[in-house]
Point group: C2
Chain length 121, copies 2
DNA sequence: TCAACACTTCAAGGATTATTGAATAATGGA
DNA sequence: TCCATTATTCAATAATCCTTGAAGTGTTGA
């Protein structure tokens, strides 16, 4: 993921409605949700939702397919994963504190003592 | 990290100059950099830089201290780590594909085969 | 105390982004 | 074909964000 894409992704996630859409679609899984269902859950008007969906689609964080009358949206797990990687590696220079903090959170990988004095600030 | 903070952080990172500042400060390490040095490196006017620094400070991604005439800024590794965690856990519901993709990237943890059919889309 | 330095704050503008309601497009069933 | 359904696009307005230059705030050394 290049910087342009990352900027667009951060911008997409910086708006309450859009962050909500992404969360909803992630939970919905690969089957996705029709625009109408999303609008209902989020409590926004169809045209407003459409505006935000376009923004998200443009950033690559979601994708769409037509299914009969509906247009069904799905979260792009790949793009989300790329964004997490960008944040950790490109933006944060793979800093040990950040990596460790994330890995620690699911009890995986290196024990905390192994981090040594890499954990500043 | 709650949603409000996450939105503020994404908003902070969605602007080219500010993303550049964060990257610069992460690389600079815990000693940080004076506002003047940052302005010079980023090629922006002092007042414009100040505007963006305030934005970043407000989101919690950086912090500041006065040191003689200068005001020295440092990246908040903690806030950055929290943001990565938010993205993976709250926003992405700890989705296995995203987690795996990140962990895979440093050759740590579970081998790819172990992911099984958790890797959809 | 005064001047120079390092920054920030303020006010004004221009540029983007968000919201709303009306109009338009695509699909499927009677 | 005609109508209802599902969604998008458009135009206008409101709100927010970014940039700039001038003015203001601390800090240091003469």
């Amino acid at each position: 993921m290049d910087e342009r894409q990352a900027l667009a992704s951060f911008s997409a996630l910086s708006q309450e409605t859009r962050l909500g859409i992404v969360r909803t679609l992630v939970v919905a899984g690969p089957e996705g949700l029709a625009a109408g269902s999303i609008a209902e859950r989020m409590g926004v008007s169809p045209s407003n939702l459409s505006f935000h969906l376009k923004e998200l689609d443009h950033s690559g964080l979601i994708s769409q397919r037509r299914e009969s009358r509906s247009i069904v949206y799905t979260a792009s797990y790949n793009a989300l994963a790329e964004l997490v990687k960008f944040l950790m590696e490109d933006c944060c220079s793979g800093h040990p504190v950040i990596r460790a903090s994330v890995e620690r959170s699911d009890g995986c990988c290196a024990p905390q003592e192994a981090l040594g004095d890499a954990t500043f600030a």
